[in-house]
Amino acid sequence: MEAVIDIQGLSKSFGSHEVLKDINFSVNKGEVVTIIGSSGSGKSTLLRCVNLLEKPSGGKIIFNGENILDDKHDVHQYRKNLGMVFQQFNLFNNHNVIGNCVVGQVKVLKRSKEDAEKIAMKYLKVVGMDAYVNAKPRQLSGGQKQRVAIARALSMEPDVMLFDEPTSALDPEMVGEVLKVMKELAGTGLTMLIVTHEMEFAREVSDRVVFMDKGVIAEEGTPEQIFNQPAQERTKEFLKRTLK
């Protein structure tokens, strides 16, 4: 299988505190990979390192055969290829729903406004927010905001979608609508890298599950392997704590 992103020996420190240690893993084309682990295990930091919102302290990130941590690589060019969905949605408050999905396409991808709006509408339909095109972010519920944020990322038509705990800031009754959209996306062959606390969801949609603990990848495998026959003692303990 062809790896879209290949991470080799990645490390990250905040001051003297080492958050990630020698991380090696890759995401293949069309694959859905979820990263699980307890809080503070470094999974969000890893995801943020992938699109360079955090600058890795060492290692390589190979994207399309090139190490994008080389000095000669333009960070902004690279980020066009990655869609990011945040825990706190982070919609642009000065734009309405469609504006959120259009602004990046027009300003970064240089698409015409008409094309951008067409594409935005297509993805707003996918997430079921096409009836809210003119709403401002503050007029929406959390679940709606997150679905718009997903449409915004999809509108850039990235190679990989990154999700950073997309349901952690939501009220319980809104988690379902966001997970439903993500499940549908997983079914379309989109390459997805998801950090999540939703174990049931991870088990259901993942092709591969990565379990992180104390800044290292403790175990990775298919959902069956991780959830049914975990090899490591710490994986077992984590699952016992989270799956009641």
Binding site: M84, F86, H95
Partner: protein, 282 residues
């Protein structure tokens, strides 16, 4: 001194005393009469003075706002870790800090004197007082606005900045398309404040003989020996100007915020007009 001169001056003194007496005896009616007389006779002068005051305050606030926005954007550029750019940015930031601290830390009346007479001394160039006034108010406002804008940028939550970066925008694009429109909304009350301060503080520009409202009033008061009446009139004029600005800014703020609730457009054929009407609750 001739006999006639002495007579006149003692005559003047007599009239002056008589006037003071009349004021005490005539009381409020006399004063009121004078107020009306001053307004009636001098309204074109007041109006022209008010016009110049507004002109200087308005241009000064707008230019100052632009300086502030620019300084704010530059001062929030993330510092590169190495290279020439790092030193360039550090130098620019240092110069901006000096500018901001200096102009915030000295009285505008002193700045006016230094710049106006300084220009005359250094370049033998006598600035047009109104242009000098605009320059002084602009750079003074710019120093305050730079800090206001910096505060406004910090108040836009970091997540939106990150989200813009994550879809591939650079610092400038992020600022123009995402951060600045929100900053402008956030700093609008503070900018209005600055505008009002400028309307009032242009009064100090009378020291470089700009014929703004305060200068005009001083002339009128002196001509008639009617200080209270003239300044009472101008007091009202200043208040009308500042309060009008306040009302206009409140209106703009409301317009920018829009309605709190959103009416769902279930019907996709709705035109932009329909949606707008629905959202205004009509």
């Amino acid at each position: 001194m001739g006999y006639a001169d002495a007579a006149t001056s003692s005559g003047d003194a007599f009239i002056d005393r008589a006037r003071r007496l009349a004021f005490l005896q005539g009381g409020a009616t006399m004063t009121l009469e004078w107020i009306f007389r001053i307004v009636e006779q001098y309204w074109p002068m007041f109006l022209r003075g008010a016009g110049i005051t507004l002109l200087i305050a308005l241009i000064g606030t707008v230019l100052g706002g632009m300086i502030g926005l620019l300084a704010g954007v530059v001062r929030t550029i993330p510092c590169p870790e190495r290279g020439v750019k790092r030193y360039l940015l550090k130098t620019i930031n240092f110069i901006l800090s000096v500018y901001i601290e200096f102009f915030r830390g000295t009285p505008m009346i002193v700045q006016a004197m230094v710049i106006f007479y300084g220009a005359a001394l250094a370049f033998g160039y006598h600035m047009n007082p109104i242009i000098a006034g605009v320059v002084i108010v602009s750079i003074n406002t710019g120093a305050y606005m730079a800090e206001i804008v910096r505060g406004g940028i910090i108040s836009v939550d970091k997540g939106q900045y990150e989200a813009a970066q994550a879809i591939g925008m650079n610092h400038i694009k992020t600022m123009i398309n995402v951060v600045m429109p929100q900053v402008i909304r956030n700093i609008l009350p503070a900018t209005g404040n600055q505008f009002i301060i400028n309307i009032k503080d242009t009064a100090v520009l009378s020291v470089i003989s700009i014929s703004e409202l305060f200068f005009v009033t001083k002339t009128i008061a002196g001509n008639n020996y009617r200080y209270f009446e003239a300044f009472f009139v101008v007091c009202i004029l200043y208040f009308i100007m500042t309060y009008t600005i306040t009302l206009i800014l409140r209106y703009i703020e409301r317009r920018m915020d829009g309605p709190d609730n959103y009416v769902m457009t279930a019907n996709q054929i709705d035109t932009a007009e329909d949606i707008k009407r629905k959202n205004q609750g009509m």
